[in-house]
Symmetry: D2
Subunit: 350 residues, 4 copies
Amino acid sequence: MAGNTFGAVFRVTTWGESHGTAVGATIDGCPPGLFLTPELIQHDLDRRRPGTGGAASPRQEPDRVEILSGIFAGQTTGTPISLAIFNKDAHSKSYDHLKEIFRPGHGDITYLKKYGIRDHRGGGRASARETAARVAAGAVARLLLSKQQITVTAFTVALGGIAITQRDMAAIGQNRLFCPDPEAAAQMEEKIAATRKACDTLGGIVEIVAKNCPAGIGEPVFDKLDGELARALMSIGAVKGVEIGNGFAAAALTGSQNNDPLIPSGFASNRSGGILAGISNGDDIVARVAVKPIPSIAMEQQSIDRDGQPVTIKIGGRHDISAIPRIIPVCEAMVCLTLADHLLRQRAIS
Amino acid sequence: MAGNTFGAVFRVTTWGESHGTAVGATIDGCPPGLFLTPELIQHDLDRRRPGTGGAASPRQEPDRVEILSGIFAGQTTGTPISLAIFNKDAHSKSYDHLKEIFRPGHGDITYLKKYGIRDHRGGGRASARETAARVAAGAVARLLLSKQQITVTAFTVALGGIAITQRDMAAIGQNRLFCPDPEAAAQMEEKIAATRKACDTLGGIVEIVAKNCPAGIGEPVFDKLDGELARALMSIGAVKGVEIGNGFAAAALTGSQNNDPLIPSGFASNRSGGILAGISNGDDIVARVAVKPIPSIAMEQQSIDRDGQPVTIKIGGRHDISAIPRIIPVCEAMVCLTLADHLLRQRAIS
Amino acid sequence: MAGNTFGAVFRVTTWGESHGTAVGATIDGCPPGLFLTPELIQHDLDRRRPGTGGAASPRQEPDRVEILSGIFAGQTTGTPISLAIFNKDAHSKSYDHLKEIFRPGHGDITYLKKYGIRDHRGGGRASARETAARVAAGAVARLLLSKQQITVTAFTVALGGIAITQRDMAAIGQNRLFCPDPEAAAQMEEKIAATRKACDTLGGIVEIVAKNCPAGIGEPVFDKLDGELARALMSIGAVKGVEIGNGFAAAALTGSQNNDPLIPSGFASNRSGGILAGISNGDDIVARVAVKPIPSIAMEQQSIDRDGQPVTIKIGGRHDISAIPRIIPVCEAMVCLTLADHLLRQRAIS
Amino acid sequence: MAGNTFGAVFRVTTWGESHGTAVGATIDGCPPGLFLTPELIQHDLDRRRPGTGGAASPRQEPDRVEILSGIFAGQTTGTPISLAIFNKDAHSKSYDHLKEIFRPGHGDITYLKKYGIRDHRGGGRASARETAARVAAGAVARLLLSKQQITVTAFTVALGGIAITQRDMAAIGQNRLFCPDPEAAAQMEEKIAATRKACDTLGGIVEIVAKNCPAGIGEPVFDKLDGELARALMSIGAVKGVEIGNGFAAAALTGSQNNDPLIPSGFASNRSGGILAGISNGDDIVARVAVKPIPSIAMEQQSIDRDGQPVTIKIGGRHDISAIPRIIPVCEAMVCLTLADHLLRQRAIS
């Protein structure tokens, strides 16, 4: 059973390769009556576009989404919504030298071992380009959530070892790194510039907060909300860790330090990250993900070719220094998709 | 859609409450021809039993598994395997005082908000007792994996803030905490004893390693092996974080520090934790989970009752100081279930 | 992927073999707050019991259902409901002579070819005994439907070539064959008696009617209500055909003869069987199934053994002459399960 | 949970409305290494095209399939295959008079009741045009089956009450009705012509035969091969009944008449239609479907409008007289999709 579908009720299947004809998503299970326009999706897609400097590569990707089905008179009809983004900027020739070589840190070798064939152009299906389809589908999920005033916001809390020391949520929209600490953001940009010169790349940490999620969402015992969020976020290529609320810090705390006292108005603290026993408790849902440094580096690396012979490889071209900030809207999309799906799941059995 | 089923091909549905008649699991999709005995399952179940001292409570739970279906002439037949563990040690009276009160850090309030009704006896469905069914089903998955020489081992790498400083795998079976560092284990036991006196509880970190998993397992783009492991492990009650390979440490590394060079014999390092682009690469699969301190503490806590009125609560009775070590076989079970499922999924589409 | 689970939201997994320890069902996705007792389930199970004469065999099967989980204070809690019926009347010795022989019309050979192993005792998993678990689970579905006044009734419209000529619904409960035509029922009983003497068996046709099903149930384009009913009913061992409304008769009609005119109060006729474009239209849902004659006949038949050598076989023992009437509550159960599942599915996406 | 996905392993999601931008299908779970060209799909699509006379309408539908993903170097890669057929011949204006009226025998009213909104143009999602996507996906399934020499052929056995009296399989390709009896085909054409003049429409019966299907396919107890075929075929708009092997005729036979004796070379007859206990037995798989007369008739009918007021309606335009022959390749597609899915399912658990 292949794994290109996400969600049990609000079900999204993405398709497409980096340098194929198009990438896209088919959404089945979106309720009828939502006012959905291409512009609304485009707005989220544009946030994923590479900027003109800093951590992102200068490559232009004018992603234009088209809605091919599921809309009538401006509204969703309850039938499948097909979204497509046609690829326009495909220089597949530039990947010919990678045809026989496995890039370290990439899925080149595992795709070949799994399928016996691989589309080597730009990573094929394993390319970050696939996440454009996620962001497009996530915009539809976000629209659904907005009917219940649920908001989902991701932001950078660390990059290249530099951690934020303040949380000014208004600042997130005012710097390219979606960082709530303007001073830290400036240091991060310096680090990015230095790392670019060093032909290397950087990792970081992203936090995602969902507000106004009602209590009662999440399906024990295997489809708990925290487990589902973990899967959703870990399915993003660069993510190597996920934690909820106190997360790994909880491992060194005592029960009296980690419990959230209940008070008549709710909870006195939110160490749980808004989830108890896998079910939302009405508080903010808080998750953090560890983003690994982009494996495509412009310095020489040791690798092997298809025949298992040692080779050296140096990856040139237009590559980002960090998956942050482009991963930010992808994290939001995956949380939106998870919450939308579980909101509908809760309806089914209540 | 309720969430009590795990797996797409090797599918396990658990059922049962802490103080109901029984807990159990129904396995659908187990291949025929495996020699399965109750003793084999019992072996794993017994590892989950509470010890007589230290971190675990003195409560006796003589869990006896019964195989109700799916076996003929000692072999699995390809039909559903029904496993049941009847509850014998149920003192439901002792929970009456918790009927109207929500315990901090537990799912009492979220279960009520979700379902409108809850079985308050010992946590009901949210009890750790449910994991006995997981361990029983996991033993069947482990049997399937053993046909391909795949082994799954979990062990303690930190408890109460004390981290291991050496990894002597032979030591794991020689201390009650499944700890590969005997000296650290001794310190952890001291910490447990002191914490018990302080009426508090402890968290920790567990690492799980799967050896001999073939390359090619995992289903991009949403059912990647790392995402599936994250969901599986995060579905365990006490787990608040999951990381693969370098995990959160990768966030502060550069690409050149985090990539695993390919060499003719495989990989020169295993920073990826054995997974590239969501597919196993043939190396050891390595995951770590953050285990929160048990929320049931013997000191007074602030809470509310069903009417939202403030109350104080002090949880007595037979409770563990840490979810470690009893969570160890549960972690193994969830990884076994995930790998068994994905091994079969890979067969389907290749 | 094995196929022992039915339903997408109201999900039932049955398990158990004819002569194993028990048969049972695990229900996941049943909404909380239903008042469910063993007696309620037992009532439906008892309707499936063999009678003391006529078409059914004299074998005694005192099926007693036990509810092992999912109930608290007499109500469903939203957690999995585990039902078990322990086998008491197992004479597995009496099947030893069939160990190496394939019975014509049975799954003996296909089970062996599929799984490489088979439990030959009483048909193993392929036994009609498995349907006891369906009836038990169906009783829970029926309880859910009853909250919306939906009723599901099955009855015999033909047996051994004798068709009913009147429909007196009150008569259904007054004869052993659940037949709405008392005169036809009497003729059917005569035919059964004669066929028993001839060492042969009989087929028939069962009709199922669901009343008060709201419009809007069913999920185009693949999970249409008629398709789902067809699968549900065809999954019963003896069923070889399913039709909805006019069914096969529609093939010889014209559009003007087969269409149902719409009128302000609903529809002027119900040739569609209550389903249009796969969605319930608010009218009675009407399905009919073709029940094949029981393949276990007491006369000599030609067959082969495991080595492919020709043998003759004569099946003695306690066997029914027709799957009717025992199939009647099974048909009802499958329709109840289908409707309950689709009622909940409709909730999820509306 | 919406129902636009078919299959558990070979999973097809169709999307699109009659007069929207496009219709299409996303296939997830197709094994890698199949040589797939647009021409191969086009070949099946062209068989679905309306002819220039007879039962089919003169409307031109130059369906051109495009493969948007999942192919590299002419082969499937194991990643999702996205297929799209852009609509070119959309006269949505011509449907404006139907905006407020429910056509008898169509899903107009049930779609509105279910979703609260409907795309009235040409039936929207409920249009037979959706089946173009099924045929396209079915062509990929057929390619997979052809690797095992499995063939699937559908043909007309009755139309307008005229039944075939001979089965000359070579004749199927030689008349427009895919009829194995040339004389019957001629009579059927006369009946079609007469019915067209009478402003009415016709139903019929289609038989589908799959050859060379290995024994062991199908998943008891709920996903039996016959049940799955029933669902697949009944999900086609015009189908109101499905039978396997002897089907409804079995209801009037005795066990000795209906059983297939086993012989060393296989089975002495094929009354079972190639399926025993829900599992293929290696013989031809034989199914028949009842096709209702097309509900769009050119004579006046009684109906209601959105306000429930009585109206009369007369449906003009380019409509077929019978769903046969255009339903023939759709029946084949659904059987191909079912068999391909179950072939892969069997791999997973064996």
